[in-house]
Symmetry: C2
Subunit: 224 residues, 2 copies
């Protein structure tokens, strides 16, 4: 499903370069459930952004679902981002003027879903995540952990084959975190490929494979 | 240092009320190191915002440093917020156009600090938090955990008698989290009063007292 070869990403700040990703080789197959861990600043979010087609590498290649991503045009990338990939951002990125339900329904604009069915599916996901009495709250009317759960629901609403979750439980108490991980486990058993960044060992244990990053490189990649 | 009596805060959404805080009685003395835990949505951030003079209660009273907060005017509140209280927000709230150092120096505008000394103090704190090579990065040039550390440095730069930290390690790996908690322990030994919200048990253990919230109420308040 995912193949990367010598993936590099650097940023120029002032008169120096930050090597956020430094030759990353990665192979992820359909149905994998992978945790990515590593120190703050080691390149995890940068990797996720490239895998999610939100950023492009400076060197190296990325094949996603049999396609060379650098050869895709904007329309194809947009479609992949909205239909084939579910993304939970480390900082949520909810639209402030939309309610929880409206935020969750956003990715469904790109697929030909009946609007009533879309709404029901969004409400069902939010209810599953404990937010049935928060459906019509806007993000500034929600707690940090509630916003995080809206971001998770939005990533799942299109039932995408690939779920990329960047610190999905960072703002959640352990009981709610376990519920989210039970949901992810269920989705993975149903065939969804999941790649999640976490800094919590108890969350990483739900994954079958563990990748450790350091200074923009993968330093370890083995069964969990 | 802090005394609250029947503190209440409610929000009106649609045609219903959310009782975010439901009669909270709290007493915190100088030098206390308190952890606040509870499920997502239980009122922790709402409590912190009121204690930090960023929000006002709908009922009840709040005495801070011997003063009835509701009797203070805007200028006095502003001074308290910037000089007497250090606040780490759950969503950081860094100014996007300022560098890490400039963000950390912000609270020092309110105190009569020599600008060169202010800059050195800000750089020293950022270095202590492992960000010496990120001083001139703007927030969008920083990782999630790096932004979190800038927010922590900003909260400490005025050496405020009261530190309010809302999920200060939510985006940090365990090694960096422990370093932050060692710093907090050191500051507390030096006399700083610390109240921190966390959902992680390993972080809560650094505090001497543990308050548990549920549904806007304090359900437990005892030694840790
Ligand atoms: N402006 C608002 N309007 C309406 N409801 C609000 C508003 N702010 C907070 N709430 C609600 O008040 C409750 C308490 O919110 P608060 O942010 O204090 O929770 P919390 O304990 O910090 O949760 P978390 O652990 O998820 O950060 C939540 O159920 C939230 O939906
Ligand atoms: N736009 C940018 N410009 C300059 N440097 C950047 C930029 N984005 C990221 N970086 C740097 O690249 C490195 C990797 O960032 P990244 O966000 O991938 O780290 P991370 O592993 O997700 O960290 P965290 O665990 O703190 O979220 C960091 O050191 C960061 O400062
Ligand atoms: Mg990150
Ligand atoms: Mg909160």
């Amino acid at each position: 499903m995912i193949r990367t070869d010598n993936l590099c990403r650097r940023f120029h700040v002032g008169d120096s370069w930050v090597h956020a990703l430094d030759s990353v080789d990665l192979a992820i197959d359909e149905g994998d459930f992978v945790a990515v861990m590593g120190p703050s600043g080691s390149g995890k979010s940068t990797l996720m952004n490239i895998l999610g087609c939100l950023d492009t590498p400076d060197d190296g290649r990325y094949r996603l679902l049999e396609q060379e991503v650098e050869l895709l045009d904007d329309a194809e990338l947009s479609r992949i981002r909205n239909v084939h990939i579910g993304f939970v951002f480390q900082s949520f990125h909810l639209l402030p003027r939309l309610t929880a339900v409206e935020n969750v329904m956003l990715p469904l604009r790109y697929s030909n879903t009946d609007l009533l069915q879309a709404r029901q599916h969004a409400e069902h996901l939010l209810t599953r995540l404990g937010l049935d009495d928060r459906l019509h709250h806007k993000p500034n009317q929600l707690s940090g952990g509630q916003r995080q759960r809206v971001a998770i629901a939005r990533s799942l609403v299109n039932q995408p084959p690939l779920l990329l979750a960047d610190e999905p439980t960072g703002n959640l108490d352990s009981k709610t975190s376990d519920e989210i991980m039970e949901l992810f486990t269920e989705l993975n058993r149903g065939g969804q490929t999941i790649l999640m960044v976490t800094h919590e060992d108890e969350i990483a244990t739900y994954a079958r494979r563990l990748i450790r990053m350091r200074d923009g490189k993968i330093e370890d990649d083995s069964l969990n």
